[in-house]
Each structure stands twice: as C-alpha cells, then as structure tokens.
Amino acid sequence: MSCAAAPLMTPLAARLARVDKETHDTFTLTLERADGQPLAGFAPGQFSMLYVYGVGELPISISGDPNDPGRLVYTVRSVGRATHALVNRRPGEAVGVRGPFGRPWPLEAARGKDVLVVAGGIGLAPLRPVILEVLRRRDDFVRLIVLYGARSPKDLLFRKQLAGWARQPDTQVLTTVDYGGTSWRGHVGVVTTLFRQLRLHPAQTVAYVCGPEMMMRFVVRQLESRGVPGSEIFLSMERNMKCAVGSCGHCQLGPYFVCKDGPVFSYDRLRPWMERHEL
C-alpha cells in the first residue's frame, strides 16, 4: 500500500539480495523486489533515495548495469551514520527505494565520438553504468578512455572489471593512486597526471567526470586547456537532498536543483556557479 497523498515520498521495500565488499570501507549492495517483479529501470547517471528503516534516507547513485532488468546495484562508501547503517544491512533484509531520479549522462552527445571517462575515488560508481552502456553499444562510439584515480591501491574499485575493460578493442584504461605505498607498481600521482599519456582529439571528445568537487574542477581545467569545449564536458554533482523531487530546496546550486536539473550537468551550465565560494 502506498501513501495516497505522498506517493513520491514513500519508500518501496526492496530486498537486499547481496552485499559485496569492494574495499575496506566500500560495499556494493544489490537490491531486488521482494515479489520478484523487476525494479524500475534506470538510465546511467541516475540515483535513488535509499531508506534504512527508522534511520534515514540517502541519495545514492546507481552503479550497476542498466541492461540488467530487475536489479538495482549501488556502491556505497561508509563515511557516516547513515551510510554505515546502510552497508551493514544483511542480505534478505529490506532497504527502502525511491526513484530513480535525475538527469542521466547524455550518451547521445557522444555518438560518433571518443568517450573519455574521468573518475576519482567513489566517483567511478556513478560512471560504471555509462561505461557498460558504451561497451554494449560499442559501434556508436569511437574510442573509450577511462582515467581512474583513487587514494591508494587498497581503495581501487572494480579492479577485475577495469582489467576486463582494458582488454576491449579501442579501449584505454589508465589507473593511478595518490599514495602508492610500497608494493604498487602502477602509476602514482593525481588523476590529472594521466592526461599527459593521452592523445586526445578534443573536437571529437565527450567527457564524463565524477569525483570530489575539487578533483572535478582540476580535471575540467585540464580538459579545457586541451581544447575540449565546456559543452562537451559533463559532471555529476552532489548536494544535500531530502526529497529528490525538487521541493525540499536543499540541493540548490545557483538556480539549479541538483536532484531534478542534475545531477549530471554540462560544464557550460555549471561554469558561472561552480567556482563561486560557498554558493
């Protein structure tokens, strides 16, 4: 039964099918409907509001395969009370879902072009669905380049998948860490240092960027200095959200509601607002 006057704000009880540990603090949750029906489909870049009974709700990007019917997958980093409660649900328990919400990564903009995916930290999670979609519709795009930076080797997500993507034709995957530790033999340095290893065709490139806001700003600067126009650079933004349907007012960024005008924005739209202190 759903609330007649507040259906938008009522969580649907979904069943937590499995919890996979990705790193020491990051877990992937797979949700299914308790009655076996498929959960609502989603477009890459969209998010859900996940509800932990009696505790609270969080906006979490969907990180799974958009072509896997019936399942909704989320990769969550445990950083506070609510995320901690979420990742500690046991398989079989219910997790409330509302959504999906938001504007997705605009894949049509990248047709016939190179897709450049730049991910920082947990930012790889909202980008995984668009990578999977590009791989599924491979002929619609030219090259796929994935640049991924994490804090340290033990924070890298989806390592097996990254290796698998790297083996695909016309696909380049470059990974780096800020702190290499002693046994890491890969690249060390912030994710922008990977740009030097690329041969970009800026007029033929569409970039999808997700990570901490500061990281995204540095990446955008690199992209623009290499000639990728702001209209072809897309970011996924994050703000405080209580409703996800544009009425609680918390997620405003300049004139935009991140929940319904975003979370994906072209940099051209964000430019006047992003560099403002405390906007």
């Binding site: 445990s78 995320t83 924070d155 002693t182 340095g189 990570g211 901490p212 990281m215």
Partner: protein
Amino acid sequence: MDTKSLYEVLREHPFLEGFKPPHIQKMAELAHEVQFTRDQVVFREGDECGMFYLILEGKVALEVSAPGRIMRITTLAAGDELGWSSLLMEDRKHFQARTLEPVRALAFDAARLRQTCEQDHGFGYLLMRALLRVVSGRLQDTRMQLLDLYAPRGVKLI
C-alpha cells in the same frame, strides 16, 4: 641516434614546445640517447646533479626511502622530463628515480646545458620557461596530492 634524428625526436617532445629550430638544434647537439632496463636506478637520493633527461618511452618512479620501506612520490612517463633540478645547480638529488619498465630517454649533461644558457641568453630564456612550465605543473599536482581529496571526512565511527 645521429643529430638529425635527435632533432626530429626533440621537435616532437612536449618539453620543447615553443622552441625555434636553432634552439632545437642546440638541444640536439647536447643530447645523447640512453636506455635503461627494468628496475634500474637512474639516480639515487644524494647523488650529485649531473644529468637532465627527456623520457621517450617507459615509466620511471620517483621515490624516497624511509626505514624499512620505499615511498613512491610520483610516476613519470613518455613526454615527461626527469631531473629538472640539475638545471638549477641544486647540490644533490632529493629523490631516487627508478625505472618501472625498460626506458628510452634523451640525456643531457646539465653542466653543459647551463653553460649554453649562459652563452646564449635567448636559448636560456626558452629553456628556463619550459622548466618553469614543468615545475609549476608538478607543484599543482603535488598540491592536489596533498589535499587528499578522496579521504573520508564524515563523522568518525568508534
């Protein structure tokens, strides 16, 4: 490699962006090709600053050692330079450079490069400008690394 092919290679290297043909020629005359195998130390912490390199192929790690462990600061690759501090008459190397895979590079005797700068200030200006560009990029990258952008900043759970 003969001077002519060194010229061609240097013309393409990002470090020399903005250099005019006469200056590229000067660099070509001062360069010689070197090769390193995997896991070879290019210079150690404390070494006198002798050589400046432009990497053509392969990866090099900049590292510093602490008791019981070696910490990697950053990774350099084709298109990067290595050993910029030699150009400024620094006393000794602060870090160790070790190849991660077979590396091909162009090496320059730093003392001769400095001398050329003294004799030809026009060339010297371009070299220092290129160096400034490189060092500023490194500073930016290092600052970003220091920001520790991916660190969790939420409430700490006991």
